[in-house]
């Protein structure tokens, strides 16, 4: 059995406006994993994180963190968690050093300048430690928020869209930090809009849509299970239209300028149909000069899932 560090059960949240942002969410986060929560805007990601961290009161349901109920035993639960919020909410006039030390104090930890220095260096903020936060760029403010969240040595780190508005270079640096944290045993839960990042980083992926968790899966498993592959054939001669009677049916499509044939197939199926397709092409006298295959990205999988869910909800 897996070691569950955060257990969310039967969680619902209806805001004062009457809007239900979470519907009976059940989710277990495993100790030491990187869990990516994916979902379109307004799906309820930030709300879910808020309930776990204590910034949002749930309407019903329970959350335990390391076995501690996050309401009745909130001190023990919250001590384990560092939160990097989605919005760039920082003080303006404080120095980087002061604000990070303040966070550590809030969590009841004794001063530890050596540790704070280590965090600031790992986030390339050391040179900026005496600067006022308002003089920093957006990407640097984001890293200040990460430094604040790490200041009390949490076992769990929540990153709510950490790379929004951060340039490529900084993003890479940030992921290095996240990987190093994971290697040191920190559990990481992140939401991101950059699906390739979830694909890169996550061990498991949860998809949330309209306040419901519609899928939780090992990333590899997910890619495998839902992964479609595409075979692209570059034709020697352009085709005006797909010849009738060609094998492949709806799986087959022709590019607008007629020089590429794309065949989409399921890697999990007993028969991919590739052999028959190729035979059928030879029979029809269609020759090709090159071919390539491509695995569909998580993004495509994800868009497909949310689409299904929407259609399902409409019925």
């Amino acid at each position: 059995m897996q070691d569950i560090i955060i257990a969310i059960s039967g969680l619902s949240k209806t805001y004062a406006t009457g809007f239900t942002a979470l519907k009976n969410v059940n989710l277990g986060i495993r100790r030491g994993e990187i869990f990516a929560l994916l979902g379109p805007n307004g799906a309820g990601k930030t709300t879910l994180i808020g309930v776990v961290c204590g910034t949002v009161n749930p309407s019903s349901g329970t959350v335990t963190v390391g076995g501690h109920d996050n309401v009745t035993d909130f001190r023990a639960a919250r001590e384990m968690i560092g939160l990097v919020p989605q919005e760039l909410t920082t003080d303006a006039f404080e120095s980087v050093w002061a604000t990070v030390c303040f966070s550590r104090g809030l969590f009841g930890k004794p001063k530890n300048p050596a540790y704070i220095e280590k965090i600031l260096r790992s986030l390339s903020l050391w040179e900026k430690r005496n600067d006022k936060i308002m003089t920093l760029s957006g990407g640097m403010k984001r890293r200040v928020l990460i430094a604040k969240a790490l200041s009390h040595e949490p076992q769990i780190l929540f990153l709510d869209e950490p790379t929004a508005g951060v340039d490529v270079e900084l993003r890479k640096g940030m992921w290095q930090v996240v990987r190093a944290l994971r290697a040191s045993g920190v559990t990481i839960i992140l939401t991101t809009h950059y699906i390739e990042e979830a694909e890169d980083m996550a061990d498991r992926i949860g998809v949330i849509s309209n306040g419901e968790i519609i899928l939780v899966e090992e990333k590899k498993e997910l890619m495998h299970k839902l992964g479609k592959k595409q075979l692209t054939l570059q034709l020697q001669e352009k085709l005006a239209a797909l010849p009738a009677g060609l094998f492949g049916g709806a799986q087959l499509s022709l590019s607008p300028d007629g020089d590429e044939l794309t065949y989409t197939y399921d890697t999990q199926a007993d028969r991919t149909g590739i052999t028959r397709l190729l035979a059928s092409l030879t029979e029809a006298g269609i020759r090709f000069k090159d071919l390539s295959t491509k695995q569909s990205s998580l993004e495509e999988i994800f868009v497909g899932l949310v689409h299904q869910d929407r259609n399902g909800a409409a019925k």
Partner: protein, 253 residues
């Protein structure tokens, strides 16, 4: 209790005061000096004494109270309103601290600041008029009790406010007028009988009267009643804070 968190909040708030040293300290000193010029010199030359006390000296406790009440309310309300406004409140809500610790941090800092200001005004006054403090312990007690009570009130206002206008309303439209009408600059006994009765519905009368008694042993009401009213105020504010704590009013979604 997470005392390190209380200390962190307290120091954060005191640092904020430090950054705005000019507004925080110089402004009240200048306005106090102006009061002495206007009331002390101009009016004081006509009214030589009040309740047997030299007029310039008589107004010192009232002036201190005026600043103490305003500053306590404004500092504490701003202190907690600002994190709500900027969103940095997320950190307080997700830290292992309870509402009570948040209150102690913010209210403690606001009260400290206004007590320091009160003492600065006292020192400034000394430059202009003779000041005698008959009961220093009572003087400090009233100072501290009032500062804490009105910082609690300010904290409540800061939680209740959802805009900067609301932060201003209570200090400007309620506290300042009540202080001016509450005998900060005169003894209630100089008023016509009808207005004396009306005045006793003004709670601030009791605060100023008790405070002035600790200086000159002259009072509009018995000092025990003053103390009782101050404590009743304090109790009311604590009850209100408790209610906010129980209901989570306006802190979380």
């Amino acid at each position: 209790m997470n005392w390190r968190a209380v200390k962190a909040i307290y120091r954060f708030e005191m640092a904020r005061t430090g950054r705005t040293l000019f507004q925080s300290i110089l402004a009240p000193v200048i306005s106090t000096s102006l009061y002495f010029v206007v009331f002390g010199a101009a009016i004081g030359s006509r009214i030589t004494e009040m309740d047997g006390v030299d007029y310039g000296s008589f107004i010192v406790p009232g002036l201190i109270m005026l600043t103490l009440l305003m500053q306590s309310v404004m500092n504490a309300s701003f202190g907690i309103y600002f994190p709500k406004f900027t969103g940095t409140i997320y950190e307080l809500l997700s830290a292992p601290i309870s509402f009570i610790e948040i209150v102690i941090g913010y209210v403690g800092a606001a009260a400290t600041k206004s007590i320091i200001l009160g003492l600065i005004i006292l020192a400034t006054s000394w430059l202009f008029v003779p000041v005698r403090i008959a009961h220093p312990v009572w003087m400090i007690s009233f100072l501290v009790l009032t500062a804490v009570t009105f910082s609690l009130l300010g904290f409540i206002i800061g939680i209740w406010a959802d805009g900067f206008e609301k932060l201003q309303i209570v200090p400007l439209l309620i506290i300042t007028p009540l202080t001016f009408l509450g005998g900060a600059f005169y003894s209630v006994s100089v008023l016509p009988p009808f207005w004396q009765v009306v005045t006793f519905f003004n709670p601030i009368v009791y605060l100023i009267s008790g405070f002035r008694w600790s200086f000159y042993e002259v009072a509009d009401v018995n000092v025990a009643i003053s103390l009782g009213m101050t404590l009743a105020f304090l109790g009311a504010c604590i009850a209100m804070i408790w209610w906010i704590f129980r209901t989570g009013y306006r802190l979380k979604n």
